[in-house]
Structures are given as structure tokens and as C-alpha cells.
Symmetry: C2
């Protein structure tokens, strides 16, 4: 479908690299890329007002069709004039189709070529989703960028199972494309294929032949080793067209963003920065620190002297420690503000470094000083999180 409302401009590709700077022009403003989308699954970036999110310079957020379909229901939001109006956010929105949530959170009843019958994780009620309905719902919500319905396999599924999921994702992508009626929304396809290069190739090739205005890389960051994540990004990006935006779904740690950009990714989203913030884990340029640690109980400086976010600008580490210690709700909010500011500034710095020709050294220096969370700890946390099925984001 012709789409003049949503375009992507590639501004610069960094020499001898895949890193690039560009911009998404949407009906709700221009979004410079690389960009990180904070997660607003239920129509709110948890703890924050739209004004606060804007105040950080964030240009686009991600909302979730699955969650909004269950609560408050698509017709309620449609009646209110769409999702932008409902959540009082006048910048860009990307809605995920709900594929990932249906395959990870909901109780699955039956998947067929037609669609998926699933039970709500909230009340067990039974629902049907098809590619056509996924588009219908997302057109009613009215996001700027919408996603095809995909089947998202677990990272340890067999080759055969992943192959089936990929084939179905391809059929569904075509049906989504045909079902699209609005011409002011950009519909992105989702490349699947798990950890299998062959399937990633197949998927990227097939979907690019359908000429979507953007391509997502799905089914990663689900507990697989980081090496596999990075390899799959490399192999997929190599087959995606230069002039279309690339969106790595569900990835959002500081080091992963830098690595992802270096591999040619333009768009990221993840609940990680906001989720770990509520647990007291705050980003600094040296790595994550936990404000609950007794070491902060009397620290008069802010948690991160390099940061000019509202939290660091206004409060001592000791005060933030006290709020966490007392489980005061303001704690979660101040930590969220800090982490989102950190991630957003990081993508801005990355973009600046691409544009001014210093990305290589920026990347090396960032990765040399930033201490990522230990991989085993990270995987354990992720597994625990997936098991608890944290339905919140």
C-alpha cells in the first residue's frame, strides 16, 4: 500500500559499518533514529505522565494491542477518538500486534492457519485473533506504525516447530497486508526463525519480497545466549533493504542498543529499563547500580553525577534509597525517569556519533567502560521473569 504519511529517510550510514542515522516521518512528528521506544503496554509508560515522557525528548512509545484489546477493549478507545487521544499522547505510537503476548502470556487454546484461539491471562475468557482482526484492531487504535500478527516460537523450540511458525508468520503477513485499509499507518513485517540461520534467511527473503515499509526482527532476547542474538541480527539485517527501517523487538539494555546499532538496527523497544528501574537498578555509564544497596543510604550526591535528569538534578542518592527502602511509590517513578533519560540520551549520543563520524570510538569506549550485567545472571533473571509471566508490560 502506498504510504506517504509514514516514510523513512536514511541520513547517513557510518563508513565501514552498518550503523546508520535516519528519521521516521510520522503523522505525529519526526522520530530521529536510532531510537528506543519506552513501553506503554496498557496505554501508559508505567508511573509517568505523557508530559514527563515528552520532557525527556521521547518521540515515540510502544503500546500493546493484546493488552488494550483485553482492557479497556478496542471499541472504548475507538470511541474516545483513538489511542493518541485516549492516553493523551500527541507524538508517535507503534502498536505491537499482540502476537508475542498471545504466544507468551495467554493460555493458548489452538493455533491454526486461520488464526489463534487463546484465553485471557486476566480472566480466562476465550478470544479469537486472526491477521485481519489484528489489523482491524490496530487501525481502530490508530498508531503511526503497526505490526503484522506473527507466531513467535520459544528460543528452544525445534527446527520443525520454528519452521512452521515462520511459514505461518509469512502467510499471516500477506493477509495483514491485504487487510490494511488506512493509508496513514506504516505496517511492518516481522522476521522470525529463532536461532536458525537458514530460517532467518528464508523469512527475511520472503518478507522483503512483499515490500513492507519496515521490517522487525522478532523472536530474539527470549533467553538465548547473547552471541546467538547478535549473530541472528547480523544475518537478518544483511538481507533487509537499505532504505527501510529495521526494528529489533524487545531489546533494550544499554550495551545491546550500542551493539544493535552497530549491526544496522534503527528501532528498539524493551520493558527492561522501566522494569529494572522499579526494582532499584539504575543505569550509569559504568553499568547498573542498585539504589537499595546500603552504600547509598547516606550519599549526598545524586546517583549519577553525569546525569541531568529530573531525579539526579533534584534528589540525593540517600533520598532515593530512603524512598525505595520505604516502598514509597515516588521511588519507582524517579527511577523510571532516570533510566529512560539514560537510554534516550544514549541513543541520541549514538546518533550524534554516527553523524559526526565518531561512532567507532564512541562504541569502543562505551563498551569498555559499561559493565553489562553478568550473562548468567541476566539469563537467570530473564528466565525467572518469563516464568513469572510478568503480565504488566
Amino acid at each position: 500500500m502506498m504510504n506517504n504519511f509514514n516514510t523513512f529517510h536514511l541520513i547517513k550510514t557510518y563508513p565501514d559499518s552498518k550503523a546508520r542515522a535516519g528519521e521516521l516521518v510520522t503523522p505525529h512528528g519526526v522520530v530521529p533514529t536510532p531510537v528506543f521506544l519506552p513501553v506503554a503496554s496498557q496505554g501508559t509508560v508505567r508511573t509517568l505522565t505523557p508530559e514527563e515522557v515528552k520532557g525527556m525528548g521521547i518521540a515515540m512509545v510502544l503500546a500493546n494491542t493484546y493488552h488494550l484489546y483485553l482492557r479497556p477493549g478496542i471499541p472504548v478507545i475507538e470511541e474516545m477518538g483513538g489511542l493518541h487521544e485516549f492516553m493523551s499522547w500527541d507524538r508517535a505510537i507503534l502498536t505491537d500486534s499482540g502476537g508475542y503476548q498471545i504466544f507468551s502470556l495467554a493460555q493458548l487454546r489452538r493455533v491454526s492457519d486461520e488464526g489463534v484461539i487463546f484465553r485471557s491471562h486476566i480472566d480466562g475468557s476465550q478470544h479469537l485473533i486472526t491477521p485481519e482482526l489484528a489489523i482491524q484492531f490496530q487501525e481502530a487504535l490508530g498508531a503511526d506504525i503497526i505490526m503484522v500478527l506473527d507466531e513467535c516460537p520459544a528460543y528452544d523450540d525445534s527446527f520443525e516447530k520454528v519452521w512452521e511458525a515462520v511459514s505461518r508468520t509469512h502467510q499471516w503477513a500477506e493477509r495483514c497486508q491485504r487487510a490494511q485499509k488506512r493509508n496513514d499507518q506504516a505496517l511492518y513485517a516481522i522476521v522470525q526463525g529463532g536461532g536458525f540461520s537458514e530460517l532467518r534467511h528464508q523469512s527475511a527473503e520472503y518478507l522483503t519480497s512483499l515490500d513492507f515499509p519496515g521490517y522487525a526482527i522478532g523472536g530474539l532476547s527470549l533467553g538465548e545466549p547473547k552471541r546467538v542474538t547478535l549473530d541472528m541480527i547480523d544475518e537478518t539485517v544483511a538481507l533487509l533493504p537499505e532504505d527501510k527501517p529495521r526494528y529489533l523487538m524487545g531489546v533494550g539494555s544499554p550495551e545491546d542498543i550500542v551493539e544493535g546499532v552497530a549491526r544496522g538496527v534503527d528501532i528498539f523497544d524493551s520493558a527492561l529499563p522501566t522494569r529494572v528501574a522499579r526494582n532499584g537498578a539504575l543505569f550509569t555509564r559504568l553499568g547498573r547500580v542498585n539504589i537499595r544497596n546500603a552504600a547509598y543510604s547516606q550519599m549526598e550526591q545524586s546517583i549519577d553525577p553525569d546525569c541531568d535528569c529530573y531525579t539526579c538534578h533534584t534528589f540525593s542518592a540517600a533520598y532515593l534509597h530512603h524512598l525505595f527502602n520505604c516502598q514509597e511509590l515516588l521511588a519507582y517513578r524517579l527511577a523510571t525517569i532516570h533510566n529512560l533519560t539514560f537510554i534516550n540520551k544514549l541513543t541520541q549520543k549514538v546518533r550524534g556519533a554516527i553523524l559526526d563520524g565518531t561512532f567507532s570510538s564512541f562504541k569502543d569506549s562505551f563498551l569498555a567502560t559499561y559493565q553489562p550485567t553478568d550473562e548468567q545472571v541476566r539469563l537467570d533473571q530473564k528466565q525467572k521473569w518469563l516464568k513469572r509471566r510478568n503480565l504488566s508490560e
Copy 2:
């Protein structure tokens, strides 16, 4: 003690009434009265930043010595330069001495004339508080108005028990007065006496003979019938000096504020507006409504068309209902903003009506249209709340 930093100016007493308008001049700004103090027990008005509280035009908040003594500890706050600095609030603060919390939240070990030995409600650790320590702690915190240590009896205690508490409160008030070293804080006495007129008289007379710069009415709104509350206010106020501020502790429903002002009260505080907000109960000029009610699930207007607070100005009732339904943290914050704005505007309107000579009709019209929460429901809720010992505020 001479105190030129904290003064009270009575501006106008409403004709044929006890209602009055005045102002408290504090080292952290002028506070117009009647005034309602939002509760910031642990150094934060729950869910809000200091900027948001200021944005509502709130000039003074209440913090709690008991809570801050236990967490983060008085020395930590002293080290940071005092409570204003610690919580980043540059307007006026009143600290309660902790008397009420020790007698209601903590496990009491022993009360003697010397002081109280109690166990922390958090970790069971044992602590001693004396009148002298209560002053020492409050001088270290550095609030603008501080309170004597009092013994707060339960509303159904025997005459003898209340009499003992009153006597001890008197001795302690004198000791607090003698212990005071800083001359930039106003130390208020607390009249006790339960529901016994005779004891209220005794207490008011004794304490006024000591010439404090302000007088609080304590030990009310603890589950007694509203008629008793109002009678005790009447009888106490009648014995307090005209030129000193009167502070009714722990009272803060819209109807109680209007009734209290009519009876000559200048200062109110209560956790009620913020506590019920987090439960979805929102003030409107017709009474409380509960946003969780399904009736709001599709309402495009704001919850209160008369209100220009950030919440009502920005979001539909349907959105707020959705946030509560999903237990999104933003819900509690938006509801808190609304209720505090409502209460603060109410005190402003009351003050305006006193100054422009329309208080009588304002009061009658307000009480005629505002439907208070049913008294039995209110008492049950209060009892439940006291039992649960909601330690949070």
C-alpha cells in the same frame, strides 16, 4: 521562647461566627489560613514530586518524626542539611512529634512520666522517646512548626485513663518548651481530653497558661461519632486565645474542613484525601465518587467537570478508570493530584468567602450539595484502617 520567625496574623473573623482568615509567616514562606496540610509522613507526599505539590499552590506539608526517626534516621537527614533539603521542598513544613504514631502504630512497651519505650512497627527494635528527644529530633529535622510530645488515648478509653494521658501531656508540653533551643521554629502544644468536656477544658486552660505560639486539638477523628468530634472542637476552641493559630490534627474530609473552619480552626491535616484517592475515591462537589465503578468505563468527560487539576484537564474518566482497572501506578498519582487539588481549592474558597463576607452562604450551600460518606460506612472504614494499622501515612 520569643519567636520572630514564626508568627500568625489574624486577618479577619467572620461576623457572628468563629470562622477566620489569617496567615502564618514562616521561614519558608507565608501560609494563608485556613489551610490543609497534605501528609508527607516519610518525607514525600505519596506518589508526587515536590514540584507537583507546589504546582497545586500548596504552601505547607506535614512530615512525621516517628517515621523519619525509624527511616532513614534523624542523623541522615541532619547530615543532608535538614528535612527541607532532604526532600527538596523549600516551602513550609510541620512535623508531628510522633506521639500519635507511637501510641497507635508502634508496639508500646512502657509509658512513664519520663517518656515512652516502644518497639518499631518495622523491625521490632526497641527505642526510647522523651519530650526532650522529641524536640531534639524536630530541631534536627528543622521544620517550621514542630509539635510537643503528647500521649494520645484511644477514643473509647476510660475517664481515668484519659485523665492520666492529659496530665502527662501537660508535663511533657512544659518539658518540650524548656528543651527548645532553636528560635526559628514554632512549637505548638496539643490539647487532649478524649470525648470528655471536663478534660478538654482542663487541658486547654493549662496549656494556654504556658503561652505557646499555637495550639493543636489532638485525639479526635479516631473513630468517635462525628457529633462528638464537633462538640469537642467547639468546647476546646472556646478556651483558646484568639491571636494564636488552632490546628485540628488528623481531620481532612471536605465536610469536616468546612465544619472545622466554622468552629474556628485554622490548620488541618489528614491522610484521608491521599489515602482514599489511591483507593479510587475522588472528591467532587457532590461528594465522593469511585472511579472503579463500571459507570466510568466509557465516560469521555473528566471525572469532575468543575475541576481544572492536571488530571481532569488532561484525561477522560474512562482513561482513569482503565488505569485503576489495570492497577497502573499512574492511577494513584492522578487520583492524588485530583483530591489534593480539590481540598486545597476548597480551603482557598473558604478563605475567600470569609474575606469577602460570604462564608455563611458558602458553608450552607457546600454542605447542602456535598453528600458526605455515610457515617456508619465512615466509622467502619476508619476502624478497619486503624486495625490494619496502615503504617504508610
